[in-house]
C-alpha cells in the first residue's frame, strides 16, 4: 500500500491523478479462511484490521452483503464521547476514544477526528442530577467531563438559546471536551484500506445466507450468495441484522431492530463549533466540515428493516432543534435517512462468545456504537483470536441477561419521580 501524504497528493496531481491505486482489493471469496467476519461496517472492518495487525492472523475474510460502510457506519451522526456512567461502559468507550486520538496516523487515513467538545444539556432537576452523577463518575475514572453553567454553555455554543423563559430552559450542561466527531465514511474506508493491505479479503456484494455447523455443533463456515466459505471462527458484526444472522445458527437474541433517523440541513458557513445533545427533549446537532447541520432524530416505535422512518419522528426532533436553536428555523432539511439499529434491553452492546462454539458476536450498539468503532474492533479481535474476552469486554456477555447483571445505561438516566 502506498502511503497517503501531502507529498503523494502533489506527486499524483502532477501525473494528472491517474496513478492512484485501489484503496482496497476487490477480493473474491476463497474456499476457506481462519476467520470470517460477517458485516463490513466499521466494527467488522476494525475487527479484521486488529486481528491482522495485533494478532498476526492473515487469512481473514470480511463478507458484506452490500457495499462496505453502507450500514449504520455510513449513516450515523458521528458523535464521539466516552462519558458513560457504569465502569464497564467507561472502560469500553474510553478505550475507543484513546484509539480515536491516534487513528488517522495509525491507519494513514484522515478520519477527521475532531475533539470539538460534546455538550449534553440539562433542562430540569432530574437532568442535573443525572449529569452530575456522570461527571462525578467520569472524573473518578480519569475521564474528562465538566459542568457548565448556562452562561458557560452559551459561550461554548453561541447559537444555543439559554434564555430563562423558554419552555425547557437550560439549567446547565455536562461538557466532555475530548468528545467530538469523526468522518463516518473515512472510518470505514480507512479500516478497509489498512486491513486489505495486511491481506484481509474484503468481499462486497456477498450476503451470508446460512451459518453451517459441524457434527459437534461448532461453527464450520458460512454460505453466501457468492458460495460457501469454510471457517472455524465466525464473527457476526451485522448491527441491525444480527438477529437474522444468529437465527441462522439457531440462537435467539435479546435484540430488537428499529429504524433510527438522521437528517442534514443545507450547508452553511461555520455556526456550530461543538456537538450539542439534549436527551430530555430529543435533539442532537453538530455541523459537519462541509457545513450541513447534522441532526439526530429518534427511533420509530416499531421494529423494522425498512431504512426509512416516519415523518413525525423527524418533525419531533426539529421541534426541539428549533426550540434550542431558534435561528435555524429558516434553514432547510436537505436529506433525511434512517439506519437499522439493534437495541438490547439494557442499551449496552453484546461482545463475546455465543452458545455455539466458534461463533462470536458483536452487536447491540443501538443508537450509539459509532464512537466505539476502534475500541470495539480491538477487543473483539482479542476475543476471537484468543477465544476469551478481553478484560474490557468481559462484562458485555450474552449471559448477563440470564443472571440479571445488566449494564443499564438507559436506566441510569431513567425519568421517574
Amino acid at each position: 500500500m502506498s502511503r497517503f501524504s501531502l507529498a503523494a497528493l502533489i506527486r499524483h496531481a502532477f501525473a494528472g491523478n491517474t496513478g492512484w491505486q485501489p484503496q482496497w482489493r476487490a477480493a473474491v471469496p476463497k474456499p476457506a479462511y481462519d476467520v470470517v467476519i460477517v458485516g463490513a461496517g466499521g466494527h467488522g472492518l476494525a475487527t479484521a484490521y486488529y486481528l491482522a495487525s495485533e494478532h498476526g492472523l492473515r487469512n481473514i475474510a470480511v463478507v458484506e452483503r452490500g457495499w462496505l460502510g453502507g450500514g449504520n457506519t455510513g449513516r450515523n451522526t458521528t458523535i464521539l464521547r466516552s462519558n458513560y456512567l457504569w465502569p464497564e461502559s467507561q472502560g469500553l468507550y474510553e478505550h475507543a476514544l484513546k484509539l480515536w486520538e491516534g487513528l488517522s496516523r495509525a491507519l494513514n487515513y484522515n478520519v477527521m477526528y475532531s475533539p470539538r467538545g460534546v455538550m449534553m444539556l440539562a433542562h430540569n432537576h432530574h437532568d442535573v442530577q443525572v449529569a452530575r452523577r456522570h461527571i462525578h463518575a467520569n472524573r473518578l475514572s480519569g475521564i474528562d467531563n465538566e459542568w457548565l453553567t448556562p452562561a458557560q454553555a452559551k459561550a461554548f455554543c453561541p447559537l444555543l438559546n439559554t434564555a430563562a423563559d423558554i419552555r425547557y430552559p437550560i439549567l446547565g450542561a455536562a461538557l466532555q471536551r475530548r468528545g467530538g466527531t469523526a468522518r463516518h465514511d473515512a472510518v470505514a474506508w480507512g479500516f478497509a484500506r489498512a486491513a486489505s493491505a495486511l491481506g484481509v479479503d474484503i468481499i462486497e456484494n456477498c450476503e451470508v445466507t446460512a451459518i453451517t455447523r459441524d457434527a459437534a455443533g461448532a461453527v464450520a463456515g458460512v454460505e453466501t450468495t457468492r458460495g460457501a466459505i469454510r471457517a472455524k471462527r465466525v464473527g457476526v458484526v451485522a448491527a441491525g441484522h444480527t438477529s437474522v444472522l444468529m437465527a441462522m445458527a439457531g440462537v435467539r437474541m435479546p435484540l430488537e431492530s428499529f429504524p433510527l433517523q438522521a437528517l442534514v440541513s443545507e450547508p452553511v458557513k461555520p455556526a456550530m463549533p461543538c456537538v450539542v445533545m439534549s436527551n430530555t427533549i430529543h435533539a442532537y446537532m453538530s455541523q459537519s466540515d462541509k457545513g450541513e447541520m447534522v441532526i439526530g432524530a429518534g427511533t420509530d416505535v416499531y421494529t423494522s428493516y425498512s431504512q426509512a422512518g416516519g415523518l413525525h419522528i423527524a418533525a419531533h426532533t426539529l421541534e426541539a432543534i428549533c426550540e434550542l436553536f431558534p435561528a435555524v428555523r429558516r434553514l432547510r432539511m436537505l436529506r433525511n435517512w434512517a439506519g437499522i439499529v439493534d437495541v438490547t434491553p439494557d442499551r449496552s452492546p453484546i461482545i463475546g462468545l455465543t452458545p455455539v462454539p466458534g461463533l462470536f458476536v458483536n452487536c447491540g450498539w443501538g443508537t450509539g456504537g459509532f464512537k466505539a468503532t476502534p475500541g470495539s474492533g480491538h477487543v473483539f479481535a482479542h476475543t476471537i483470536a484468543t477465544g476469551s474476552p478481553h478484560p474490557i469486554n468481559a462484562g458485555f456477555t450474552l449471559d448477563r441477561f440470564r443472571t440479571g447483571r445488566l449494564i443499564d445505561e438507559a436506566a441510569a438516566a431513567a425519568v421517574a419521580h
Binding site: V244, R252, S257, T303, R402
Partner: protein, 94 residues
Amino acid sequence: MLLIRCPVCAMDRPELEFRHAGQAHVARPADPGAVDDAAWAAYLYLRDNPKGVVAERWRHVHGCGRFFNALRHTVSDRILATYPAGASRPEVAP
C-alpha cells in the same frame, strides 16, 4: 406514519394514536416460580426480531384503549392483519 386498523374501533387510525407494545404471543409463564433462570430470561428478553412478518402488540392508547395484535411485514411495514389480543395468530400470505 402508519395507518393501523384498530380491530375494536373497526377504523383505520393514524399511528400517532397508538402505542407499540412489543412482540405478541410471548406468554407469561403460568407459574413463574417454576421456570429456571434461562427460561425466565428468555421470557423477559429474547425476541424474534424477524426480517419478515412479525406478530406484535399495539395499544390504541389515544382511542379505545385496547391492546390488540398485528401482523406486519418489517421490510415493507405493510400491516397484513390486526386481531384482538388473546386470539391466535391468523394465517396470511406474506
